[in-house]
Amino acid sequence: MERSARAFTHNAHKALADDVLQDNLVKLKGNFLVRRERARDSLPEFDVLRDEAKAIKDHTLAHLDLYLEAFEAQVTATGGQVHWARDAAEARAIVLEICRAEGARTVTKGKSMIAEEIALNPYLEAHGIEPVETDLGEYIIQLANEPPSHIIAPAIHKNRQQVAELFADNHAHLDGRLLDDIDDMLADARKVLRERFLKADIGITGANFMVAETGQTIIVTNEGNGDLTQLLPRVHIALASIEKAVPSLEDVTTILRVLARSATGQEMASYTTFSAGGRRDGETDGPEAFHVVIVDNGRSAMLGSEVQDMLRCIRCGCCLNACPVYGKLGGHVYGTTYSGPMGSVLSPSLFGIDEMHHLPNASTLCGRCEDVCPMRIPIPRMLRYWRERETERGLAPSTARWGLNLWSAFASRPTLYRRLMRIGVGVLGRLGRRHGGFANLPLAGGWTRAREMPAPEGQTFQDRWQRGERP
């Protein structure tokens, strides 16, 4: 996708002023999380499984080269073919080469974040190949020519009216008619996409996991579109980034037990599909050829670094659902493929802090993302890491830097700091005594616009501590 993370502040203001978006986001609030809690409560082993899932991923990452080699050997043994891509350009070129070799005109696509990351659709279109998204949410945003705004619910920012308008504009048989019932919209999309499934030359899916033991790629879905995408065309291409490797079927089973519960609050998604190789002797359906494209695109550099833990992410999206900032702004403001807390760590890691430096600040560091993460990823710690890099590189706004420098000049001189604080707190305490707070403060207009600053009580914390007061 085209990235606009530099415009984060501008995007955020626009999102806050967008009444339809605000309305749609209110509906999202809590819905997924309530269901997640219910699923967690009905599985007493949930937290133990989270620890085990984390350990599996840590072990895999520490031996990633060996597991990728083992995976490749098994894919080959089951009649599939593995391709390697250092970056987005190589990944796109590999897919195009396969499409050309097959003489493909139309490809159907299952939902895939890595395909979004490498901007596959516009590239295929530019080379005369028509990609058709088949996940209902992805299909809706493809019609709207927008990127996804949520990992698992890509069109969460659209309401039924907006979907009806997109269908009316794009489905010729509707003749401009607006469907008002969600059931009717679904039936309409089913009809349109069914034809696409049956006509496509190649099916492209992502992969939630690559099993080193067996050479299988796995997709986890609810609609069944991913399965029709990979079953019906002559060729199946699965795109997977390097960190999707897992050792064995037993290992992936442990992770699957926390995945859907964290994502949608289901115990298990409707369809978990393990694919290995092309059509076998005597089989009458399934693709004849199976290709896996393993993509690095910046991930190897995260190994052994401060942000390695982010590679444990299984893209359940529950940190987005838990995040108060995401809940108020939606996913588009982040201006990159990955939004919310996980995106604010991953995007700077993949695309550089220079371009992505606003994102680590789009967090209150409240820690809810880490609390709910099935893979126990320390997201706040890594957000702070990227904030430090931002400051080191002088990317923060000049007022913030100037203010922090001034504060640190005082704070590193304890006696002076205590005296000045005593004066400041004393003056503010007297001034605010009557109202108990300040409706606006110089230099803090943005903060006091939405709330009052409570007045200090006249003495500093340090003085009270020294006197032996303890809360």
């Binding site: 080269d65 070129a93 499934f197 609810n222 609609e223 190897s300």
Partner: protein
């Protein structure tokens, strides 16, 4: 892409920076891990006898909108399937997996018109044979092969799956073990597709309103056979 494989793996190795000693240990560890089938924690809910597993399977499958009919003998399956279709006013025509276990059932008496083949876009009903049932979450395991076309699981709006109670297990790990025991755990013996199916096709993509049957089946009906044959 020439050299991309070596470049990616080389970068990974460089970042991991294992010493030669570590390297030897690492290779031994992962070989063990890949061969050892090491299980993690399994939910206590599957710790029960066969009757208990059947109850759990039915409860969990129904919780995700599947329907379950239990029949005593394999001979009873055709009538159970025909009855299900009749009651819902669905067509008495189906594509059926050309599976030996299904072939021995007396379909001739059921007034159903069956085609032993993979599914096509226009099929209204697909009848498949499950490799295993997983009680933990009411999940079906279907293993593709010449006698088990995977399209039957996704194209027809009504999906009927026949499951023998003897193929019912507690957790997913037990199902993987069944697959390995059947000699289908590795290489070209591994099914091209293993489908774990838990309920019907669904989506929440429009206003998070749960809708069934968006691309895959709208109805999932499981016929469980008790005779152990």
């Amino acid at each position: 892409m020439t050299g991309a494989r070596e470049a990616v793996l080389g970068r990974v190795r460089e970042r991991l920076a294992r010493s030669p000693d570590d390297e030897t240990r690492a290779r031994r560890d992962i070989a063990e891990r890949l061969a050892g089938q090491r299980r993690g924690t399994q939910p206590a809910r599957i710790d029960r006898d066969r009757a208990g597993l059947e109850t759990l399977f039915v409860e969990k499958a129904e919780a995700v909108d599947a329907t379950v009919a239990v029949v005593k003998k394999a001979q009873d399956v055709p009538e159970a399937v025909a009855g299900y279709l009749r009651e819902r006013n669905l067509p008495a025509e189906a594509a059926i997996a050309p599976h030996a276990a299904l072939d021995t059932m007396p379909w001739q008496g059921s007034a159903l018109s069956l085609s032993r083949r993979a599914a096509r876009g226009e099929d209204a009903v697909g009848i498949a044979y499950a490799f295993a049932g997983i009680a933990e979450t009411g999940t079906l395991m279907l293993a593709s092969g010449p006698d088990s076309p995977a399209t039957l699981n996704f194209l027809p709006p009504t999906h009927i799956v026949v499951l023998h109670e003897t193929d019912l297990v507690g957790g997913y790990e037990d199902a993987w073990q069944l697959l390995r025991d059947a000699g289908r755990g590795r290489g070209l013996d591994l099914p091209r597709t293993v489908n774990l199916i838990t309920g019907t096709s669904r989506t929440g993509d429009i206003e998070q309103t749960l809708q069934k049957g968006v691309h895959g089946p709208k109805r999932l009906h499981i016929v469980m056979v008790r005779d152990g044959s």
